[in-house]
Amino acid sequence: MVVDASADDGEARLVVFTTISSATVLGVEGQPVTVEAHVSSGLPGFSIVGLPDTACREARDRVRAALLSSGCQWPQKRVTVNLAPSGVRKVGSGLDLAIALALLVADDQLGVECLDGLAAVGELGLDGTVRGVPGIVPAVDAITADELVVARDVAHLVGLVTDAKVRAVATLHEAVAALAGEDPWPPLPPRPDPDPPTRVPDLADVRGQHAARRALEIAAAGGHHLLMVGPPGAGKTMLARRLPGLLPRLDPAQSLAVTKIHSAAGLSLPSDRLSADPPFRDPHHSTTMVALIGGGAPTLRPGEVSCATHGVLFLDELGEFPPHVLDALRQPLEQGSIRISRAAASVVLPAHFLLVAAMNPCPCGEANRPGYCRCSDRERARYRRRLSGPLLDRFDLRIDVTRPDTNRLLGGEPGASTATVAARVAAARARAAGRGVRCNAELADARLEAATPLDAGATALLDTALRVGSLTARGLTRVRRLALTIADLAGTEAPLTAEHVGMALALRSEPLTRSEAA
């Protein structure tokens, strides 16, 4: 607080000025914000400057009501709140608590020393309650402070990501009382019961579908994007839901990154820990471009591709997604991130996901079976055109899933469980790590040839496949990459054999091409 009693004109003019730390969110990163309050004599009024958005500007009304409900005075003076740095847009209601505290100090209702090293993030209710806000995890991650005042219901979550001492309050009154030294800080709420571990469906539930199960295993081990084509009821969704269980658990850095993204997107988070489960996101095909890619106003909120980071993005009914939405996936698929630029700001959102897509082969769903489809050539061609070639190219694994025989559904042997397969995946990933990459999909094309020597049988098979045209030059790289993962899973050393290559060829069909009978 600065008290400037200048006596130039013979009349004391009191200028009071305070600051407190807080933060807001842009994209998936927190932006530190210093809240400055300035109270001076003059016509009573209240203004917020420093690029607040609507929700932030409305803080004025919430703070006023909350102060009055908490037994504090509303200063009958001229109040200016500045949100520094003033060039950055501030969004949301998370600055309410900081504004209220700064105001109370500036108005001399609280001692100036109590703001030293203090930060606050939270929204105020009209009755003075303090609430958590979406994006609180990245926001507090950006704050450096000794003490951090947050809402009671997010205290444990915040404690996972911040080094500051967490002060959990349920109401503004509790915070004021503690800062004034009238009451001690309320104790942290009891640790919530540990959330039941998220149950990932087990792979052993899937009967039959040997090829598809193997494809899942390879996708998890090598980070290969997977396209499943098959009629309704073939179990495509069931298979996709079992993929996250095969992926390695997230390491602490990945957990934090995922938690920050999910918090910024306003998704519900486990309250007691950073989740190490790879995320699984399955947006519906009516999803808009902004919801899928990110950039929703006002925070340039992360979209589904970012929420699926370090996990699986499952697009069911791929053919039903609008083509322009699908084509927008190409940048994140290539770079693992996506740059969102708007007039106000530009952010880079992480988008490093494993893409799994499912679709019917044609509108009636039977096109794959010779002699069974009822669709006209035109209908099938129109359906095929919905997927652009470049997008189709991103799928290393393209499998056809057929409806399993009912006898096998009832009587078949259960296959390997998720735990067994996940162990094989981990071993294969350890081999990939020996090449300096997390998985083979990240291996640069230039290094692929050296990493995948072929034995004589493999060379002969690829030769024939290239000659008869069942394999293209572009497909060759992809097949070698797949075969490398297959070899990693089998635990065999280089060179690749004909069986590795043969398996790769079998799992990479040319989906949606019509059987050229004529």
Binding site: G208, A212, G230, A506
Partner: protein, 374 residues
């Protein structure tokens, strides 16, 4: 048909909503030139035959004809025939096929591209589904090849699928066999379907293309059943290779039965929709078409046909796993999973075997289904 009549007759046949029946009534009224003049001037309409053929919308139709006829250039149409190398035949021409002379519903006008001498007896029509399986395709092609090399004319409709396969078989024989006869539903200068363009031109070059539709006529749905009647009329035997329960080739069967032409069907798996129509025909009493030998016998042709085995296969060494997979595939299309379960091979091993068989061209994959070829 000669001179100016070609242009006038073509103009009459090109009027909107003129099919075989209405065209016949129009030509019954007199010389084509004279009738065309009456269409243009509107001095037409009370003739009893025409009244019946035009039905309730007679006034509208006549007005529409008059409107269109005035915009036509019969002389230009005549020249067009010359430029395209298309001939127009009617019953008065010596070259008009004899098979049509005795037909209950002969084409009054027949457009011809190629050598009309190719239309001769004995003839077998090979028809079937556009969307066919590899099995149907291979059977049609083999029948086409073997019949042509035995000197039997193969008639078909140049549609996708079975029709195209049959004629592709005929063209396999080249010089040595009977030339192909294609009966199409569009004008001879309108290649339909476009994907068959290559085959279309080959058939016109090696054999003959026939159409009841004037040059420029597009692929209207009603033209195809009418075309099927011509196929039935030209054939001594109609062989249906594959057809669904309500396939278009069953029109050809109906027309064949109306003409007492023998109908044979190729048996298929009972669980395949693509063979439901042919299997039904067999159940209804059609004779099965099991091989070219029986067809030739029924036609009374004595020819030396390699005993049903198709091209002589060279013995290829196969490892036991490949043999096993090929054995499983003889029962029809099978998925990768089912192959794995029935062969007991590991997925890697099976991937290798199928990839090898595919590369050799012995097995093909359509979607998730594996099929044997040939």
């Amino acid at each position: 048909m000669r001179g100016a009549d070609v242009g006038f007759a073509t103009a009459l046949a090109s009027l909107p909503k003129v099919g075989p029946a209405r065209l016949a009534r129009l030509l019954d009224l007199g010389e084509p030139g004279e009738v065309f003049e009456r269409v243009c001037t509107g001095a037409l309409g009370d003739e009893p035959g025409l009244v019946e053929a035009l039905g309730a919308s007679r006034a509208d139709l006549l007005a529409s004809w008059r409107h269109h006829a005035r915009a036509m250039d019969p002389e230009g149409l005549g020249r067009l025939h010359h430029d395209l190398g298309i001939r127009l035949l009617c019953a008065a021409d010596a070259a008009y096929p004899d098979a049509f002379r005795t037909d209950p519903e002969p084409p009054r006008l027949l457009w011809v591209a190629g050598d009309i001498g190719a239309v001769r007896s004995p003839a077998v029509a090979i028809v079937g589904a556009r969307r066919c399986t590899r099995y149907g395709h291979d059977v049609a092609r083999r029948f086409g090849r073997e019949l042509a090399s035995a000197g039997v004319t193969v008639v078909s409709g140049l549609a996708l699928g079975i029709d195209a396969a049959a004629h592709a078989g005929v063209l396999d024989v080249e010089e040595a066999g009977a030339p192909p006869v294609g009966v199409v539903g569009t004008g001879l200068d309108v290649v339909y379907p476009r994907r068959n363009a290559g085959l279309w031109h080959s058939v016109a070059q090696c054999g003959v293309l026939l159409s009841e539709a004037p040059p420029g006529a597009s692929a209207e749905p009603w033209r195809f059943p009418a075309r099927n009647r011509l196929i039935a009329a030209l054939a001594d035997i109609v062989v249906v290779v594959e057809s669904t329960e309500r396939g278009g080739s069953l029109y050809t069967v109906d027309e064949a039965m109306a003409r007492d032409v023998e109908v044979r069907a190729v048996p298929g798996p009972v669980n395949a929709p693509s063979s439901a129509g042919t299997n039904r025909l067999l159940a209804d009493g059609a004779a099965p078409a099991l091989g070219t030998g029986e067809l030739l016998e029924s036609l009374g042709v004595v020819a030396d046909v390699p005993g049903g085995a198709g091209r002589a296969e060279q013995p290829v060494y196969r490892d036991p796993d490949e043999v096993e997979v090929l054995d499983i595939l003889t029962t029809g299309s099978v998925t990768f999973d089912e192959l794995a379960e029935r062969s007991g091979l590991g997925l890697e091993r099976l991937g290798l075997v199928t990839a090898r068989l595919q590369a050799e061209g012995v097995v093909q994959r359509s979607g998730g289904w594996y099929e044997r070829r040939g």
